[in-house]
Amino acid sequence: MASTIRVRATSSGETTEVQALIQHPMDSGFVKDAKGEIIPPHFIQQLTFEYDGKSVFVADWGGGVSKDPYVKFSFKGGKKGDDLKISWVDNKGATDTTTAKIQ
């Protein structure tokens, strides 16, 4: 199965801009289905972006973040061709990881 993480990182000058789109239901645990039963909570709890062995962006999420979350941020540093590692863990213990090259 394809990765749940789409990422694009572009470096210009001293800054690298990162965009990521992550496929995840992000169920808050407060929504009922058509039968009236609660859809159990199922959401990413931590999302981490690592460059050169250091975390450049860490997100602690809860049920308030919508389905298929989109993240955009910039960090100082990063060179073309270098690796950027992205990983997430959700409340069910599932994880996914991907590595992208900075363009």
């Binding site: 789409r6 694009r8 965009q19 789109l21 919508s66 989109y70 955009k72």
Partner: protein, 286 residues
């Protein structure tokens, strides 16, 4: 007490009849689609002189600068990407009998979305893309998909994606049944319905660029070009069928069944009057 209310309703109704009964130079009943399409385009280009013709396909984003900026940013990483990928996978996977979608469509189904709907002269009815996809499945022994759920949305998202940029090219053959279908679609578009007494035109002809609650309304010109759409309100993709049926519910009208004649004819009309405008689907909307 109720009788008093009934009397009041009746008075209102009579007033409406009195006000509404004066026909303005009643046109002959044979429709003239090319004239309609030109009038339709002119109406919107005159109402929004700063919007380029091809930009009408971006709906509310062409009506509001702030929305446009946010949308441009989001298009770099659009929310419908997952659906297009899923659609491509589904489209390429053969049916149990070994055939595939490509066998049902001209040009293997690639780059043809702009030709739908078309009028099938053998059957005497309008065929939409969604309908054609399900017929393809059924003819090959597969169960049809719901018209309002993710699978149909993914398939039409992929097919729209392969037609991006191509102008709508809807044909009305010289057949009175085709003209009738076109006219039915036009009539549906302008007819008020539901307890809220709205027609499609009430929002999309009379009020594009204005707000209904928190949403900015899209103009009717080019309104189907971006379909199917990832709608933030739905947290997911939606087909044309989904949009038609939910619109009906929103104005408190009981929706018809997806792909009922009225909806097929409506799609035919709306697509035809947007001929020449580029397919921009799949799209993203608030």
């Amino acid at each position: 007490m109720r009788s008093a209310i009934h009397l009041a309703s009746a008075a209102l109704a009579l007033a409406a009849l009195a006000f509404g009964a004066v026909p303005s130079a009643v046109a002959a009943d044979t429709p003239n689609p090319p004239a309609d399409a030109k009038a339709f385009r002119d109406f919107f280009t005159q109402k929004f002189p700063k919007v380029k013709l091809e930009d009408f396909v971006n709906g509310p984003y062409s009506m509001n600068e702030d929305l446009h900026r946010q949308w441009e940013e989001k298009e770099q990483f659009p929310p419908y990407e997952f659906s297009v990928d899923m659609g491509k996978e589904m489209f390429s996977k053969p049916f149990k009998n070994g055939k595939s979608y490509a066998d049902c469509f001209p040009n293997q189904g690639i780059g043809i979305r702009q030709n739908y709907p078309y009028f099938d002269e053998k059957e005497g009815k309008v065929i939409t893309l969604e309908l054609a996809l399900n017929r393809c499945r059924e003819v090959n022994g597969e169960p049809p998909f719901s018209y309002v759920k993710d699978e149909m949305a993914a398939l039409t998202a992929y097919m729209a994606f392969t037609s991006r940029g191509k102008p709508f090219d809807i044909k009305i053959p010289d057949d009175p049944r085709a003209l009738e279908a076109y006219q039915n679609g036009k009539r549906y578009f302008y007819t008020r319905r539901g307890q809220l007494n709205f027609s499609c035109a009430t929002c999309h002809v009379q009020s594009p660029g204005e707000r209904i609650r928190a949403e900015v309304l899209a103009p009717a010109l080019g309104i189907l070009n971006a379909m199917p759409i990832y709608r933030s309100e739905w947290s997911g993709m939606g087909t044309i069928s989904r949009r038609f049926t939910t619109c009906n519910t929103q104005i408190r009208g009981v929706p018809l069944n997806p792909q009922d004649d009225e909806y097929r004819d409506l799609e035919y009309y709306l697509s035809y009057v947007s001929n020449g405008l580029p397919i921009s689907g799949p799209g993203a909307r608030p």
